[in-house]
């Protein structure tokens, strides 16, 4: 019987598990979260307000399929190593409470793997963004959904994309006063992205209207062509400077105004979690503006027996992740793309990819943002590396620049600043971007002692 490993338990991974089971395989699914669901269905049984969940029945069905099928589920499992072997693939994880010091080792050897590691949301640097009270939009969402708490009493939500709408709604429902949702893209970009061929958007339009209604009910203003260009405060957030942005997201001089608040939620886009795919040798496409795993129609990557699905292949939302996961799992288990059971997912995938292109056209990060970052602004938060320090070494190879400045070498390993550093280097005329910031020798944080102990007891090494 074919054994399919699935890395990630978000919409893509769950759909992949269901697909693989349907095609007759045995499944092992690993996720570092305490619960299944990924970013989209992040929850806690008692703390999550059900009004903040979307498509919950779908989640229950996927979870039930796993419980009924021949599947082993490992939650709290940080996968730190993934390798292609002669026989298939091998994943190595430690399982236990987050960052505990003596977790249990779990190794999974399988005939094929579906990489469904998803994405995290991306906040671009803004002067003052290291002040307490500034979080990513995703953090505001996660804390509201998972823990039932609000990041602030008066919150400004700023960035780009439809994701800002559910974030504002969640903040309002956990009791924060949302001063406004600031969308960087101008109305012309939004129109170019969203207005053509409205029939393609059938379900999505309803979703947006629902959120728009939510904003109206809570009297939350929504502004386009606008963004936070500076965070004010001494020891914590006391306010922000908001400016109008041009079509390139360049702040327009003379439009600045101050807004008082105690929290800022920034979300300018999403960055896929590519380390597992890179460790498995999968090819990527794109550049620092967006780098994703290359897949074919079967969701096959360029490495044999390695499939990928969800936000690692492109930012297209949960529906796309579900559709891609269903195809990936079914094919990883040896099923055929022409199977009638895949007709639904294949159609949904086509629609979702069209949605992704609109997202990028309407809300994609524009280069003008670097104009709101001054020389002294910290870009790498871990090592407090400023824009000036990075720009001064833009002409040396990326690796040398990182060693000289320490940008991206702190505890987060460049996950937070990578894209911004690459953009600043590129703007200063530096070396062409490489995958340097996405390659990490250890895929998820584990303690050095843990890995050393596991390596010492491992018969295979």
């Amino acid at each position: 019987m074919t054994h399919v490993a699935i890395l990630g338990g978000g919409p893509a991974g769950l759909a992949a598990a269901q697909g693989a089971l349907a095609a007759g395989a045995r499944v092992s699914l690993l996720d570092e979260g305490d619960r299944l669901g990924g970013q989209f269905w992040r929850h806690h049984e008692r703390l999550t307000d059900p009004r903040l969940q979307h498509g919950w029945h779908r989640f229950e069905r996927l979870r039930d399929a796993l419980a009924r099928g021949d599947a082993r589920v490992h939650v709290g499992a940080s996968v730190w190593s993934a390798e292609a072997t002669d026989l298939g693939v091998r994943l190595r994880a430690v399982v236990g409470a987050a960052d505990a010091d003596a977790r249990t080792a779990v190794d999974v050897e399988a005939d094929a793997v579906v990489v469904a590691t998803g994405a995290h949301d991306l906040a671009l640097p803004v002067p003052g963004w290291t002040l307490p009270g500034v979080t990513t939009a995703g953090a505001a969402q996660a804390l509201a959904k998972r823990d039932g708490v609000a990041v602030g009493r008066r919150t400004v939500v700023s960035g780009a994309g439809p994701f800002l709408l559910p974030v504002a709604q969640s903040l309002a429902l956990v009791g924060s006063d949302v001063v406004g949702v600031l969308e960087a893209s101008r109305i012309t970009a939004l129109a170019a992205g969203w207005l053509p061929r409205p029939w393609e958007l059938a379900g999505k339009a309803g979703e947006f209207l629902q959120y728009a209604g939510g904003l109206a009910r809570h009297r939350i203003p929504y502004r386009t062509g606008s963004g936070v260009v500076r965070v004010l405060g001494d020891e914590r957030v006391e306010g922000v400077v908001v400016a109008a942005l041009d079509a390139d997201w360049h702040p327009i001089v003379g439009t600045e105004r101050e807004v008082a608040c105690d929290a800022v939620a920034l979300g300018h886009g999403f960055a896929p979690r590519l380390e597992a795919a890179l460790a498995l040798g999968c090819d990527l496409r794109g550049d620092h503006r967006g780098r994703f795993v290359v897949v074919d129609d079967a969701q096959r990557t360029t490495t044999a027996q390695v499939f990928a699905a969800g936000e690692v292949t492109g930012i297209a939302g949960a529906d796309a992740a579900l559709a891609e996961g269903a195809v990936a799992g079914f094919l990883a288990a040896g099923g055929a793309l022409g199977d009638p059971r895949l007709r639904g997912p294949v159609t949904a995938r086509r629609r979702a990819r069209a949605f992704a292109r609109r997202l990028e056209r309407a809300h994609g990060i524009r280069p003008g943002w670097t104009a709101w970052v001054d020389d002294a602004t910290i870009v790498c938060r871990c090592e407090a590396v400023t824009r000036r320090a990075i720009a001064e070494r833009a002409d040396v190879p990326l690796r040398a620049m990182r060693l000289a400045t320490r940008a991206g070498l702190g505890p987060c390993q460049g996950r937070t600043c990578g894209r911004a550093v690459e953009a600043i280097v590129a703007e200063a005329g530096g070396a062409p971007a490489s995958v340097g910031f996405d390659r990490r020798p250890v895929l998820a944080p584990v303690r050095i002692g843990e890995v050393a102990a596991l390596a010492a007891t491992d018969p295979a090494t």
Binding site: E32, A98, A123, P132, T135, T136, D147, C382, T416
Partner: protein
């Protein structure tokens, strides 16, 4: 209801919350000393490592990912 201590001070939270959830719920926004001032939650999902705390003597625990347990002793971390 759970009780934890943060640098010796008692803080109450709801059963099941992450350490970050408990701290934010108690009105705290920063709990780590960095070279550029205090830090608290930034990414909220385990990516940025801004929220690190020492839990019952174990250093480097991401407060946004670790579920708080009644009686946990949380200590501030400082990085030069």
């Amino acid at each position: 209801m759970i009780r934890i201590t943060v640098d010796g001070e008692p803080v109450r939270g709801r059963d099941g919350q992450t350490i970050a959830g408990v701290l934010i719920g108690a009105g705290r926004t920063a709990w780590r000393t960095s070279q550029t001032g205090d830090r608290g939650v930034f990414c909220g999902i385990g990516v940025c490592h801004d929220c690190l705390v020492t839990v019952n003597g174990v250093e480097g625990v991401r407060a946004c990912r670790r579920e708080a347990v009644d009686g946990d002793r949380i200590e501030r971390e400082a990085r030069p």
